[in-house]
C-alpha cells in the first residue's frame, strides 16, 4: 500500500491547504510504524522467551538452574557443554545428524518436487489416490512402523548405519514436500510454462528452469521444515541406531533420563541441537524473500 512508502515529494508544494496534511501524514505514518514495531517486538518477546530461558539454563550451574526466585543474572559456566561433548559424545552425533538429515532432505526435496509437479500439472488416473497415499505415510504413528522397520533393517544388515535413517527420513519428508509444493506449483499459471514449451523446452527443462525458480518461497519453506522435522526425529533414531550412527536427539534424550535430569546439560543439548537449524534458516531466508521479485506475475 502506498502508505508504506515515504510521502511523495509532490505533496510538498507550499500551499496552505497542503502543508498541514503533509505534516499529519508523516506523523500518522510514524505512529503506524512505531505501532508495528511494538507489535513485532512483543510477538518476538513471547516467542523467544522460552528459548532464551533454555539458552541461559545451558550456561547455568546446577544451583542457578534450580534457584527460586529465578535467577536473571548469574556467572555463566561451560560445564554443561563440556559434559555434553566429553561424556556423551555429542560432536560425533552432530556429524551423523548433519550427514543423515542433509542427504535425506535433499532426496525428499528432489523426489517430492518432481512428484508434486506431476500431480499438479498432469491429468493422471487415480491422482487423488496417489496423493492421499503419500499423505497417509505421515498419518501413521511412528510407534507402529518402528517394529517392522527394525526387523527389515536387521535382515538387510543396515541397522546402525546411515542408510536406514536416510531412507526413513526421506520417506517421512516426502508427504510434506509433495503436498506443499503441489499447492505452490498450482499457483503458478500454466501460461508461463506453455510459453516455454512452445519455445522448445522439454517438460523437464520447464520444471527446472521455469517453474521451480517461481516457486522459490515454497521451496525455501519446505526445505526448512523438512530439515527441521528430520533433525528433531527421535523415536526411529533411538531404536534403529546405537553407536555408529547415533544422532543428536538421541544424545539429547540421554540427558533427560528421569532419575538424573540435569536441566543444565539438557538445555545445553537443546542449544546445540538448535544451532545448525538457525544457520540453515538464516541461509534460506533470502530465498524466501527473493521469490517476491520473481513472483510478480501480471495476470
Amino acid at each position: 500500500m502506498s502508505a508504506d512508502q515515504a510521502p511523495t515529494a509532490a505533496v510538498a508544494v507550499p500551499r496552505w491547504g497542503v502543508r498541514p496534511r503533509y505534516a499529519i501524514r508523516t506523523a500518522a505514518h510514524a505512529a503506524r510504524t512505531a505501532l508495528l514495531y511494538a507489535a513485532v517486538v512483543s510477538a518476538l518477546a513471547i516467542f523467544l522467551f522460552p528459548y532464551y530461558w533454555m539458552v541461559t539454563a545451558a550456561f547455568k550451574s546446577t544451583g542457578d538452574v534450580t534457584a527460586y526466585p529465578p535467577v536473571w543474572v548469574f556467572t555463566p559456566t561451560l560445564e554443561n557443554f563440556r559434559e555434553l561433548i566429553q561424556d556423551l559424545g555429542a560432536l560425533s552425533a552432530l556429524k551423523n545428524s548433519l550427514i543423515i538429515v542433509g542427504i535425506s532432505t535433499c532426496l525428499a526435496m528432489i523426489f517430492g518436487s518432481m512428484a508434486a509437479y506431476a500431480l499438479a500439472r498432469f491429468d493422471i488416473k487415480g491422482k487423488e489416490m496417489i496423493a492421499l497415499e503419500i499423505l497417509m505415510v505421515r498419518m501413521l504413528p511412528p510407534i507402529v512402523t518402528v517394529i517392522p522397520l527394525f526387523l527389515l533393517a536387521q535382515a538387510l544388515g543396515i541397522l546402525d548405519t546411515y542408510w536406514i535413517l536416510i531412507a526413513i527420513y526421506t520417506l517421512s519428508g516426502l508427504p510434506l514436500v509433495v503436498w506443499v509444493m503441489r499447492v505452490f506449483v498450482q499457483e503458478i499459471p500454466r501460461s508461463i510454462e506453455e510459453a516455454a514449451l512452445i519455445d522448445g523446452c522439454s517438460r523437464m527443462q520447464v520444471l527446472f528452469r521455469v517453474t521451480l525458480p517461481l516457486a522459490l518461497p515454497g521451496i525455501a519453506a519446505t526445505m526448512v521444515l523438512t530439515f527441521i522435522f528430520a533433525w528433531n526425529e527421535y523415536l526411529f533414531a533411538s531404536l534403529l541406531t546405537s553407536s555408529d550412527a547415533k544422532t543428536l536427539p538421541v544424545v539429547a534424550a540421554v540427558t533427560l533420563k528421569p532419575r538424573a535430569i540435569s536441566w543444565g546439560v539438557a538445555s545445553a543439548a537443546g542449544v546445540m541441537m538448535s544451532l545448525p537449524v538457525v544457520v540453515l534458516v538464516l541461509l534460506a531466508q533470502r530465498y524466501l524473500v527473493r521469490g517476491l521479485t520473481f513472483g510478480v506475475i501480471k495476470r
Partner: protein, 295 residues
C-alpha cells in the same frame, strides 16, 4: 509419445521410496493387528484372532476418551496457531527495516527439539519453581497448578503447542503471501479500498489454498503429537492429556499388547483418513486443479 510417460518418470522415485520403506510396515502392522501378539508374555499364544482386536478397540472407553482429547487438542492448537500465524505473516510482510531478522528469529520455536521443548516448558510450568507462576506473582495473581490440574493440563499443553507451531503456520502463510501477484492489491488500493476490505476480499480468497494446506498439514501432525506430552504429563493427570499417541504407547510398551496396539493404530488411521477426505471434498481444497483441467 514420450510426453505420456513424463508424469510417471517424475513420480517414480517417490513411489520407490514409498514401497520400500512405507508400504511394508503398513502391511506388517495390519497383519499383526489380526493376531494376539504379546511378545513378553510366554503364556499367551501368538495366533490369529481376526477382528477381535478391532471389536475390543471399538468398545474401549479409554480409546474413545483418547480420541476426544486428541480432537479437542487438535482443534484448539490448529485454530489458535492459524489465527496467530496469519496475523504474524501479515504483520511481518511490510517493507520495514529489521523485519528479515525478526522473521528468522520467529522461527526459533520450531527449531527446538520437541523433547527439549517438553523439558523447558515443564520447568516453566513448575508450580513452585517455575517462571510462569513467578511472573503471575509479580502481578499479584495466584499460583496456578498448570500441568498438575486436570482442568488446566490440556490448555497448558495447547499453549505450549501453539507456542511451538505458530511459527510453522507463519512460515507457510508468509511464503504464500509472498507468492501472491501484486496487481490485484494495486488495483484494489487504487479503487480506494480500506486495508480491512483488501484483506477480506483480496488477500483471504487468494490465500485460501495455502491456508487450507496449512490447516491440513498441521492437523495431521497435531493428532500424532507425542514427544512433549509424554515428557510433560505422561497423559495425566487422570488421563486429562491422554492423547491417542500416548495411549498407543502405553498399549504397546507398557502392556505389550502389540496386536491390539496395531488394531488401535489402524482404527485411528482410518478415522484420520476419513476426516482428511471429508475436509478435501468439503472445502474444495483441490478445486483449482480441477478448474485448470477443464480449461
Amino acid at each position: 509419445m514420450r510426453e505420456r510417460f513424463t508424469p510417471w518418470i517424475l513420480l517414480a522415485p517417490s513411489f520407490i521410496v514409498l514401497l520400500a520403506v512405507g508400504v511394508y510396515p503398513l502391511l506388517y502392522s495390519l497383519w499383526v493387528s489380526l493376531r494376539s501378539y504379546f511378545p513378553t508374555s510366554p503364556t499367551v499364544a501368538n495366533k490369529f484372532i481376526f477382528l477381535a482386536n478391532y471389536r475390543a478397540a471399538f468398545e474401549d472407553p479409554v480409546a474413545r476418551h483418547a480420541l476426544q482429547v486428541t480432537a479437542l487438542f487438535t482443534l484448539f492448537t490448529v485454530g489458535i496457531s492459524l489465527i496467530l500465524g496469519l496475523g504474524l505473516a501479515l504483520l511481518l510482510n511490510q517493507r520495514l527495516r529489521g523485519l528479515a531478522v525478526a522473521r528468522t528469529m520467529l522461527l526459533i520455536p520450531i527449531m527446538v527439539t520437541p523433547i527439549a521443548v517438553g523439558i523447558t516448558w515443564r520447568i516453566l510450568y513448575n508450580p513452585e519453581l517455575g517462571v510462569f507462576n513467578y511472573l503471575l506473582s509479580l502481578v499479584r495473581l495466584p499460583d496456578q497448578q498448570w500441568l498438575g490440574s486436570t482442568s488446566q493440563a490440556l490448555p497448558s499443553i495447547v499453549i505450549m503447542d501453539v507456542w511451538q507451531w505458530t511459527p510453522f503456520m507463519f512460515l507457510i502463510l508468509f511464503a504464500g503471501l509472498r507468492s501472491l501477484p501484486q496487481s490485484p492489491f494495486e488495483a484494489a488500493s487504487i479503487d480506494g479500498a480500506s486495508a480491512w476490505q483488501i484483506f477480506r476480499s483480496v488477500t483471504l480468497p487468494m490465500l485460501r489454498p495455502v491456508i487450507l494446506l496449512a490447516i491440513l498439514l498441521r492437523s495431521v501432525d497435531a493428532v500424532r503429537m507425542f514427544d512433549q506430552v509424554f515428557i510433560m504429563t505422561r497423559g495425566g493427570p487422570n488421563l486429562a492429556t491422554d492423547l491417542a499417541s500416548v495411549y498407543l504407547y502405553r498399549v504397546n510398551f507398557k502392556f505389550y499388547n502389540i496386536g491390539y496396539g496395531a488394531a488401535l493404530s489402524w482404527g485411528f488411521l482410518l478415522l484420520l483418513l476419513l476426516t482428511v477426505l471429508v475436509f478435501i471434498r468439503y472445502t474444495g481444497f483441490l478445486r483449482k486443479e480441477a478448474e485448470e483441467k477443464a480449461v
